[in-house]
């Protein structure tokens, strides 16, 4: 009975709605896809299921980014790198599952290695044919990178824009590295032509539904973890660091430890997002590391509402839906729209969609209870 208050404290109104929507998605989308006739307006075609799954894995990435940016003030311009590393770990597992069914029919080596005349599998590919190991790597590789990177950066008190710039340099360096054929990870073509995951064909309808449901569950779990972190005492310190880092340090908190935990957990969440993204999209290549992708993820968070968690996920889905629609209908306009979004959100919507809605509601409540205007303004801040 001691767990109830914690869970209740974690679950506020926004969170309840969010988890409710996720639960509804997890149940209704597969049902509609399987049982409604294709002519029905409510039928969700299989390709749309994968598309939705892709948006939700982006949402998990946005959630991870919001944890560090929204609550800890670390603007990472390199979260795409953790996402892509998780994706590569999953991609390597999927490549090993192809086995002798590749174009060249080699029993062990993936096609691109046969093409490059490699004789044996590099050491870092070993173990990736076992799913639990690959799943561990999905968490461990981004987590380890974030830990080492963060340990170095936070220890020497690299903050603010400097941190942003070196995270950008990190993902840029990784992009260059992964573009090299010598890395043994497919060069600029990346990893693709996946066949099976856990013995099921990745193309099959059932697998796609299962992947979608897995993504929904991962997003819900990610939300739970992030929410647990930010509502705990630890989260309070995190927010204190965001608002006044030096003061928190002078109060006796080991600021770098708090930051490092948040950064590492966030990177692992981004890795999971990448791992769920890859089988649903069918390819992972080095362009996922490009600095532009990471910055785009930042704008999802900004649009949805920084420091709200739910808003980050919402922003990712809304922006990506707009992107899918605009790049199809008016491809010329997409970059204009995205650029304008960056400017408008930072200038006029600094709290994002969710933050602004919450502000309105608070104002309405304030006027309804006839409180003095000064308190409402204070609350709005």
């Amino acid at each position: 009975m001691t767990r109830r208050p914690i869970l209740l404290a974690m679950l506020d109104g926004k969170g309840a709605i969010f988890l409710g929507v996720l639960a509804a998605l997890a149940v209704l989308v597969p049902l509609s896809n399987l049982f409604l006739p294709e002519t029905s307006p409510l039928h969700v075609p299989t390709y749309a299921v994968s598309l939705l799954g892709k948006y939700l894995s982006y949402a998990l990435l946005a959630l991870a980014l919001d944890l560090v940016w929204g609550y800890c003030g670390i603007l990472s311009l390199g979260h795409g790198a953790f996402f892509a590393l998780g994706g590569y770990a999953m991609g390597m597992y999927l490549m090993r599952q192809i086995g002798p069914r590749g174009v060249y029919g080699h029993p062990v080596l993936p096609d691109f290695m046969v093409f490059l005349n490699w004789q044996e599998l590099p050491w870092y590919w070993s173990g990736f044919d076992i799913f639990p190991f690959a799943a561990l790597m999905v968490l461990a590789v981004p987590g380890l990178l974030a830990f080492v990177f963060g340990w170095l950066a936070f220890r020497s008190r690299v903050t603010g824009v400097y941190l942003s710039i070196i995270t950008q340099a990190m993902t840029f360096a990784l992009m260059l590295a992964f573009f090299r054929n010598d890395m043994g990870l497919g060069g600029n073509n990346g990893l693709t032509d996946f066949k099976d995951i856990l013995g099921f064909s990745v193309q099959a309808q059932g697998t796609r539904l299962a992947l979608f449901v897995a993504t929904v569950i991962a997003l819900a779990l990610g939300y739970g973890v992030a929410r647990y972190m930010v509502t705990s005492t630890y989260g309070k310190v995190l927010v204190a660091i965001r608002d006044a880092e030096s003061r928190t340090r002078f109060l006796g908190y080991r600021v770098e430890h708090y930051k490092l935990v948040a950064f590492t957990v966030s990177a692992m969440m981004a890795g999971v997002a990448g791992a769920l993204y890859v089988p649903q999209v069918g390819i992972i290549n080095p362009s996922e590391f490009s600095p532009a992708n990471s910055i785009e993820a930042v704008v999802w968070v900004a649009v949805g509402g920084r420091g709200t968690l739910v808003g980050a996920a919402l922003g990712a889905v809304v922006v990506n839906m707009a992107k899918s629609w605009l790049t199809g209908a008016l491809p010329e306009l997409w970059l204009f729209a995205l650029g304008a979004l960056f400017i408008v959100v930072t200038l006029y919507l600094p709290k994002g969609i969710v933050g602004t809605l919450a502000e309105w509601r608070e104002k309405r409540q304030a006027t309804a209870t006839a409180k003095p205007a000064g308190i409402a303004a204070e609350a709005a801040e």
Binding site: V158, V161, I165, A169, A173, L176, A292, L338
Partner: protein, 532 residues
């Protein structure tokens, strides 16, 4: 200026070539000998003609070789043209009517040899210095032993030191491979080739070291080590030069950012797009010059520099007034908003000019290369190095010696104090940002000469530029200079060991680690603030 240089060069060539062109009187005598019809006289005549240096020599001897040289009944020597017409051999004038009963000049093997030698010598002794140089290089490569006699004579007559040296090298190359040459000659040849000290000479020396008598072999081996050492030094110098050149590109790209980010503290992610705008301004000006005034093409770059500055500065001022002004004190938001601006600018340029690369031509003075003690230095790179240093110097002067610069420094050091002193701080912000953007535009003019002008031009420089500024120390222009050149040279020295891409990755990793050690860069401004 380049034209004046060309004129001087042409004059110098003419002066030097003049003595070679002497004694035109010989040509007439030679033709009389050729007209005699006796083989020994014809041979003598060919020889004489070859040495005459007469402008017609080549045409006459080629006609003789092809059997188109004939002697008319009136003893005039005539040439039969390819289309059946006739011309006078001595003057080259076309004849109105066919000459009376022309008889082709007969050849025997001795004369044929004389003709071949004369033709080879003609180019080696041609009045045109470039032709002589080319001929000497051709002999160096072919190492044809029959050319030796001509070469000796050409060396004796050559007045241009550089070409004489080249001919000497060609002679040495022939002697070294010639089984008939004495050891003494060969050792002399080794010495000459050792001074040439390039890959060709090295190959020749290696061949000599593999065969030949022990003394020659010893001399050749000694020369090989000397040449190899020299080549190693040269390749290091070449690397330093390439590094400086890359460093100056980095400097150009980063120097505007050193103002906006370094001095003002604004994270301008659209900085790369200012560079791109500068490059496209150059493109537009060149297009206008191509269609309206093709003769003025060489002037497009000098015109493009102020234009690019103006265009980029205007765009920069608009960005500052429209967006950045509202975000002062919120650096992370500034970063995002300017990123949005960069996306919009990219797409705008893509819609206006198309997504493909645009061709920006190089004016004549940017083309070509020259040789500096074995280093090949292209004029394009040299101009960019000079230009980037000039821009840097101009910026230093603007900041340190003008009242505008004083105001910028005052505002960045203590905004409120500066405002109380009556400085219009918002105006200074706008102007300083416009200055930084304008300099990025000027960098675009230079970068258009060495990079593809496409909407993505700026993207490729943004990470590098930030790295340069952060490495050098924010707010320190000299730091930016040192950092750009250091990074450029380090990059070029890493390339041979690690390859271009891995070298760059290593450098980025190094920079990331460096920032951990010295978060405020190489030359950090000293201060006591907890949060700068």
């Amino acid at each position: 200026m380049p034209r004046l240089l060309c004129l001087l060069l042409a004059l110098a060539c003419g002066l030097l070539a003049a003595p070679v062109r002497a004694a035109p009187a010989d040509a007439g005598e030679a033709l009389t000998l050729i007209a005699s019809g006796r083989f020994p006289d014809i041979e003598k005549g060919v020889d004489l003609l070859a040495r005459s240096g007469d402008a017609r020599t080549q045409a006459i001897i080629e006609a003789l070789r092809d059997g188109r040289l004939a002697v008319a009944a009136d003893k005039r020597v005539v040439i039969e043209g390819a289309n059946g017409g006739w011309s006078d051999a001595a003057t080259g004038e076309a004849l109105a009517e066919a000459p009376p009963s022309p008889k082709a000049v007969r050849l025997n093997n001795r004369i044929r040899r004389a003709v071949e030698a004369a033709l080879g010598a003609l180019t080696l002794m041609a009045p045109d210095a470039a032709a002589r140089r080319q001929a000497a290089e051709a002999v160096f490569r072919s190492r044809d032993a029959t050319a030796l006699a001509t070469l000796d004579e050409a060396i004796a007559r050559e007045e241009v030191a550089g070409i004489r040296r080249l001919m000497g090298e060609a002679r040495a190359a022939i002697l070294l491979g010639d089984a008939g040459a004495s050891d003494l000659q060969k050792i002399e040849a080794v010495d000459i080739l050792a001074t040439r000290a390039d890959q060709d000479a090295l190959a020749l020396l290696r061949a000599a070291a593999a065969q030949g008598s022990p003394t020659v072999r010893e001399a050749a081996e000694g020369a090989i080590t000397a040449v190899e050492r020299r080549l190693a030094v040269l390749s290091m110098l070449q690397n330093v030069w390439y590094g400086l050149s890359l460093g100056s590109v980095l400097l150009l790209a980063a120097i505007g950012l050193a103002i906006t980010f370094g001095v003002m503290g604004i994270i301008n992610m659209a900085h790369g797009e200012m560079v791109m705008i500068g490059a496209y301004t150059t493109f537009v000006i060149q297009e206008l010059a191509r269609t309206h005034a093709p003769g003025l093409f060489d002037w497009t770059l000098p015109v493009a520099i102020p234009m690019a500055f103006l265009v980029a500065a205007l765009v920069g001022a608009a960005i500052e007034r429209g967006i950045i002004r509202h975000l002062y004190g919120r650096p992370l938001e500034t970063l995002l908003a300017t990123w949005g601006v960069s996306l919009i600018l990219q797409q705008a340029v893509r819609s206006l000019f198309g997504p493909s690369n645009r061709e920006v031509g190089a004016p004549s003075y940017m083309a070509g290369a020259f040789d500096l003690g074995g280093l090949t230095i292209t004029y394009g790179r040299l101009w960019i190095v000079v230009f980037s240093l000039a821009v840097f110097a101009a910026l230093i002067v603007a900041l340190k010696a003008t009242s505008f610069g004083l105001k910028i420094r005052a505002v960045t050091q203590n905004r409120r104090m500066a405002a109380s002193m009556g400085i219009r701080t918002p105006w200074v912000d706008t102007m300083a940002f416009a200055l930084g953007s304008g300099i990025a535009g000027v960098a675009g003019v230079a970068l258009s000469q060495i990079d593809n002008v496409s909407p993505n031009l700026g993207q490729s420089y943004i990470v590098d530029s930030f790295m340069v500024v952060v490495f050098g120390g924010v707010g320190n222009l000299w730091g930016t200079l040192v950092s750009a050149l250091t990074l450029g040279i380090a990059n070029k020295f890493l390339e041979p060991f690690a390859g271009a891409v891995l070298g760059k990755i290593l450098l980025l990793v190094f920079l990331i680690l460096f920032i951990q050690k010295r978060p405020r860069g190489l030359f950090a401004l000293k201060g006591r603030a907890v949060e700068a």
